[in-house]
């Protein structure tokens, strides 16, 4: 029969009008469904708000964690709401959900304007209408998408009357559509596993080659030093490559023997399936690598900042902080506090010979400084404790050799030259240190300076530097700055240019004397057991001390500009790169539409055999999810291998710009999981339109076309 296919639309319309046989159903009452959806969405928003407030008051989670938990709960609520709605409405009803979501967005806008909750980007109130509109739109879109996810899942499970979560024959049919058999699975496995393995091996080889080069540079006679591990890796790589080449040649030979008419026919959809898989994996790969590198930068920065600074500062709204010795035990007793140390901070000018530089002078207690920061670990020459015992500082007749791991990193011909120059300089200009008699010299206070400042001032351990404070004595001719000589006790290397060139450390008693502070200090440095709970724990410390005039400032607050810039950058990157995955999912969408067109007849036959709409939908959802899952798995593997490669290979950065020698990578399992979840969620979304289309095909659509 040759009836035109365009004629079917009226038939479908007739089918839609078919009565539901008296069964209780909201199919023809969309208003009830919209109202139910709206109520459920609003309940979800209420849940988020209540949860955020409760988390803020009852727990010590960081603000990010609070937001993540409360919005996560809201998202799950939306999903469940959609799922429930699909059962209430007996089917998956995107349009009714859209209407409810739009209403929800409008309600959100007015509610936010009335409530004025704290903004997400700044510590201020949501004020601008533009921001409100953005958030209302986000709420609307999120509720719709999540409810769609839930509702379509409900539809698949059997929301329209016949609960049936099984997918056995659907999966088998989907497998034939994708041409997924033992052979293609093997090809996929190879294609997915080989490039990451090659990358990983490349990294390993680069690392061992680097080691080899260093070893041979150190040895007198550069000998080729091969470890069994390297040998094994190379051998394995060669064997696998040879095996693959052989295999390929054999396959080509077999193809050549075939008669031209005997060639395997490969439908376009199979090629498109491959392209879709590749698209998803490239998107996931890019997303994981970029996020890993960015969190590597963040972690590096955080490590360096927290190496030099404590987690929070306890200060007072007063210059009188002489009672610090009595509150010290109270503060250390607060649960969550891991270390306390007093500090004094002031700006000074340092001079050595003809060189002058500005600096932040920090008075610390060398005995407890290690409990709040990594300062003792940053020492690359000398000893931190010498600032309290200056008589132990060696004289200028010898050069104190750098020590520790950090100094090895600095090692190399340049640094050796610097040390040599220091010794020569001291021999050439002995007068620098001979102005003072040896006894007075031994009793000068000790000062620790950063590596960059040591370069700038050309001062090494044992040299005498002058510290000058603008807060000097008043004389008849006006204020005169006060200055005192100190001997360099140690050189510090934190890895942050700003810190290594600006911070100098002396003992608390010297600082009190120098600034004429009496018994006062500026504040206490605190270290907590959990860095991310710094703000909440700081509040707890202040509460223990009775509140005003005490106050705390945590590290995130002290470095907010830096970290919020990083966070924003990371978020922007994540959003941009998610678009790559989104585009890849459009590939899935078009592949599935092609498949549906190609399989119209098959769908009709299945329906004539009694396949349910949900079953037909399942076939195509499973197909899309298979493409998404395979692509995601490949992308994650590739991302993991690339991160390992970057780490091992040690991509060099310009040290003058970044002050980090290698590109940092931080492989975060949670981040990888999130990327996988995003990619799978988008692939699922991409399947919905073609799958719904396929399930709504009438059984005769495919039969009529002969």
């Amino acid at each position: 029969m040759n009836y035109p296919t365009t004629a079917t639309s009226r038939v479908d319309a007739a089918e839609e009008r078919r009565p539901a046989n008296g069964k209780p159903s909201l199919r023809r009452r969309p208003a009830v469904l919209i109202a139910a959806a709206f109520v459920l969405f609003s309940a979800g928003a209420g849940l988020q708000y209540a949860l955020a407030i409760w988390l803020g008051s009852a727990t010590t989670f960081s603000r990010d964690a609070q937001l993540a938990i409360s919005f996560g709960a809201e998202a799950i609520w939306f999903l469940l709401a959609g799922f429930a709605l699909s059962f209430i409405g007996r089917g998956y009803r995107p349009l009714e959900h859209l209407a409810a979501s739009l209403a929800f967005g409008v309600a959100t806008f007015f509610l936010l304007r009335a409530l004025k909750p704290p903004s997400f980007s700044y510590d201020r109130f949501l004020a601008s209408t533009g921001e409100l509109v953005v958030w209302a739109l986000c709420a609307s879109a999120a509720s719709w998408l999540l409810a769609m996810w839930g509702a379509s899942f409900g539809m698949l499970i059997g929301a329209n009357g016949h609960v049936d979560p099984r997918i056995r024959y659907e999966w088998e049919i989907a497998r034939t559509h994708l041409r997924l058999n033992r052979r293609s699975a093997r090809i996929l496995l190879l294609a997915g596993a080989l490039p990451p393995l090659a990358l990983w091996w490349g990294g390993e080889l680069a690392a061992s080659w680097d080691q080899m080069r260093r070893a041979s540079a150190a040895a007198v006679a550069p000998a080729l030093h091969v470890t069994p591990k390297q040998l094994l890796l190379v051998a394995a790589a060669v064997v696998i490559v040879l095996a693959l080449i052989l295999r390929f040649v054999k396959a080509r030979a077999e193809l050549a023997r075939l008669h031209p008419g005997q060639r395997r026919k490969r439908p376009a959809t199979v090629v498109m399936t491959g392209i879709s898989i590749a698209g998803v994996s490239v998107g996931v790969w890019a997303l994981t690598v970029v996020l890993s590198v960015m969190s590597g930068f963040e972690a590096d920065l955080k490590r360096k900042i927290l190496g030099t600074n404590s987690h929070a500062l306890l200060m007072k709204y007063s210059t009188d902080f002489s009672e610090w010795k009595s509150i010290l035990p109270k503060v250390s007793a607060v649960p969550g506090v891991a270390g306390v140390s007093p500090f004094i901070l002031n700006e000074v000018i340092l001079s050595h010979g003809q060189t002058v530089t500005g600096a932040e002078l920090k008075g610390i207690d060398p005995a407890t400084a290690g409990s709040v920061s990594d300062l003792p670990k940053q020492v690359i020459a000398g000893d931190l404790h010498w600032i309290a015992a200056p008589q132990d500082i060696p004289g200028t007749d010898r050069v104190v050799e750098p020590k520790g791991e950090a100094s090895q990193k600095l090692g190399g011909p340049d640094y050796d030259q610097y040390l040599e120059d220091t010794l020569k300089r001291r021999q050439l200009h002995p007068e620098e240190t001979k102005k003072l008699d040896p006894e007075a010299l031994r009793n000068l206070g000790g000062v620790c300076i950063g590596k960059e400042m040591s370069h700038q001032l050309r001062a090494w351990v044992g040299d005498v530097v002058n510290v000058l404070t603008p807060l000097g004595e008043m004389t008849p001719t006006g204020p005169v700055p006060r200055s005192r000589p100190f001997r360099v006790a140690c050189i510090l290397y934190s890895g942050m240019y700003e810190y290594d060139s600006k911070f100098v450390y002396i003992g608390i008693p010297e600082a009190q004397r120098f600034f004429r502070m009496g018994d006062n200090i500026v504040g206490l440095e605190l270290k907590f057991v959990d860095v991310d709970a710094a703000r909440a724990l700081g509040r707890r410390v202040v509460a223990t001390l009775g509140g005003f005039p005490y106050r705390t400032k945590d590290w995130a607050e002290l470095n907010r500009n830096l970290f919020s810039a990083l966070k924003l950058e990371k978020l922007a990157m994540a959003i941009i790169l998610t678009f790559i995955v989104l585009v890849a999912c459009f590939n899935i969408l078009s592949t599935l539409i092609m498949l549906v067109l190609e399989k119209t007849k098959e769908i009709s036959i299945l329906k004539s055999m009694g396949a349910r709409d949900a079953s037909v939908m399942k076939i195509f959802v499973v197909e899309g999810l298979t493409i998404g899952t395979v692509g995601t798995a490949m992308g994650l593997l590739m991302g993991l291998a690339s991160c390992s490669f970057i780490e091992k290979f040690g991509l060099q950065l310009d040290p003058d710009v970044y002050y980090i020698s290698n590109l940092p990578v931080n492989v975060d399992g949670g981040q990888f999981l999130m990327v996988a979840a995003i990619s799978l969620a988008l692939s699922y979304l991409a399947t919905l339109y073609p799958a719904t289309k396929a399930s709504r095909l009438s059984p005769v659509d495919g039969l009529r076309e002969e």
Partner: protein, 225 residues
Amino acid sequence: MAPLVEARGLHKSYWLGEKEIHVLRGASFALGAGEMASLVGPSGVGKSTFLHVIGTLDPPTEGQVLFDGRDAFGMTEEELASFRNRSVGFVFQFHYLLPEFTALQNASMPGLINRLSREQAEAQAREMLEIVGLSQRLEHKPGELSGGEQQRVALARALVLKPRLLLADEPTGNLDEATGEGIHQLLVELNQRLGIAAIVVTHNPRLAERMPRRLRLSEGLVVDA
């Protein structure tokens, strides 16, 4: 005896652009349980459409199809699916087997759709394939079977769940005469052996003659010839 399937005043029309084409104009007929009938008529008269409507694949524009006295198009989609699965078997002019599956897998598909276990579905399929004479061809894919064998697999697939009504749309239209003859023989045999009511559309007057009941579709009406 109440008829197994009864059509009352079936109208079916298609829209070709702005023009309405009436295919069925109030066709009525009844078929008893276990009864076998041939349906003949010139090409394009609407025989396939009639079968689709009787088999609940296509709703009529007007009129009713009663199965055991129950309005088939008053059922929900779920009930309809289950009805097509268990109570009606279709055989078409083309075998419409799934090319990637073996004969056994193809024949067990309705059982799997009915959510039988694989063992059960395959046991039933094996039994039915034996009845249609293909017990030696279970593991062959449709491409490896001859036209007659393909049509026999399609027949086994249609009958595997022991439906009460078999609708065959020119099952021999693509086969040479001898093979077509064999399929017809088989249809008659199955009707007698399993007691399945059947409507067989055919162009072959000789084959139509041999049926116990002969129907003719003309001018949108079904008449006993």
